[in-house]
């Protein structure tokens, strides 16, 4: 028993439609989607690789910049060190020279003072000796003991009035 070669059968149309839907789901689930998923995975991997490469490049560039910056700052630092060292050395030498000058001046001053004191001592000694000589001379002359203290003062006054300038010259 056969159907007619050319006929339209409602039930068969419905069956064919269901079959088409079944085919659709089978092909979509078992062929189209798995392959698409594989493509997506591959695409993702490629993107990941590219992203990683970009990241590495960025990191390399950052490191290069940092390195260059460090190099530049190191040069600056070295310059700074040299400059400050030079400055310090200059300061220290200036200080040393000043100190030397000061101490030299001090020595000269002290030497001067010492000379002055010695001169004064010498002068005093000379004055005392002259006074003693004068007293002895006067005693001898008048044969009479003079009041040593009052006459010594007189003589000293005399010597003072004669002036130091004269004694010195």
């Amino acid at each position: 028993m056969t159907e007619s070669v050319f006929s339209v059968n409602g039930w068969q149309l419905v069956f064919t439609l269901c079959n088409l839907l079944l085919d659709y789901f089978i092909l979509k689930k078992f062929l189209y989607n798995p392959v698409k998923k594989m493509f997506a995975l591959r695409q993702k991997e490629v993107e990941d690789v590219y992203a990683k490469a970009d990241e590495a490049q960025t990191a390399a560039i950052t490191m290069k910049t940092q390195y260059e910056e460090k190099m530049a700052s190191a040069k600056e630092e070295a310059d700074e060190i040299v400059r400050s060292a030079t400055g310090r050395a200059q300061l220290r030498s200036d200080a040393m020279i000043a100190e030397a000058r000061d101490s030299a001046a001090d020595i000269i001053k002290r030497a001067g003072e010492q000379a002055e004191i010695e001169k004064k001592q010498a002068l005093n000694e000379v004055k005392n000796q002259i006074a003693d000589i004068a007293l002895q001379a006067a005693e001898t002359v008048i044969e009479k003991e003079l009041d040593a203290d009052s006459h010594r003062r007189m003589i000293d006054d005399f010597i003072e009035s004669v002036g130091e300038d004269k004694w010195q010259s």
Binding site: W11, T16, L27
Partner: protein, 236 residues
């Protein structure tokens, strides 16, 4: 020329016939399932197996075809187009192993054409609204309206009949040729019917294999073109 055999009748709703075409449709479905599972079996990110390469090639080809014919916005149709093409090709080519082609039944091609018609009107309605959809019948000029109205019926009819007719015609020609060769063999008193062995195989390559693939391709192309024509283009 015989129609599809009726295997049995389900005694409900006044009798539903289970015929050869329906059984063969199920065989095709099973075949598609098996082929899909084989092609996508243990797929890897780096394809090593030929089956995976073939599966990827099929998907890429379908995607490219849908993209170039319908545009990027209709990419969701790619699996359906794949289904339509595979159902049609497998349905036609099962005749090579002696089964009756599913596409040799008008009901099969009519069902597919009606689905296409549904998409044409659904997309047209959805993309331009009720008014725009009605207005599209009066284009390019109002005089065309009756012809466009006829087109609602004739578009799926012509698609269904073209596919059905080609497969049926190929089958009829092959049957005729086969008996013709048998006749010639006996006429020239060959001891064995040698002409029936080799020559029909070559002709079958054209009428069954090439014809089947061609009609599947034409059916899919027409479906894609009709659907993408009613909707907005990629530019708009």
């Amino acid at each position: 020329m015989e129609g599809p055999r009726i295997y049995f009748t389900i005694p409900i709703f006044g009798g539903i016939n289970v015929n050869e075409t329906e059984v063969n449709l199920l065989i095709v479905t099973l075949l598609l399932l098996v082929v899909s599972l084989i092609l996508t079996h243990k797929m890897e990110k780096i394809p090593r197996k030929k089956t995976q390469l073939l599966a990827e090639k099929i998907v890429i080809t379908i995607d490219n075809l849908v993209e170039s014919t319908m545009g990027k916005r209709y990419m969701a149709f790619a699996p359906y187009m794949m289904t339509l093409f595979a159902s049609s090709v497998f349905g036609s080519l099962i005749s090579l192993v002696g089964l009756r082609s599913t596409t040799q039944d008008f009901n099969t091609t009519l069902c597919w054409a009606l689905v296409t018609a549904f998409f044409i009107h659904y997309i047209g309605f959805k993309s331009s609204g009720f008014k725009g959809y009605l207005h599209s019948f009066a284009e390019p000029i109002a005089v065309m309206t009756p012809i466009n109205m006829i087109g609602i019926v004739t578009t799926p009819m012509s698609m269904a009949l073209r596919h059905f007719g080609n497969v049926l015609g190929g089958s009829a020609i092959m049957t005729l040729l086969y008996s013709a060769f048998a006749g010639v063999s006996s006429m020239i008193h060959l001891p064995i019917p040698a002409l029936q062995v080799g020559v029909p195989a070559i002709l079958s390559l054209y009428f069954d294999f090439f014809g089947g693939c061609m009609q599947a391709f034409i059916f899919c192309m027409l479906t894609m073109v009709y659907i993408s024509n009613v909707g907005p283009s990629d530019d708009s």
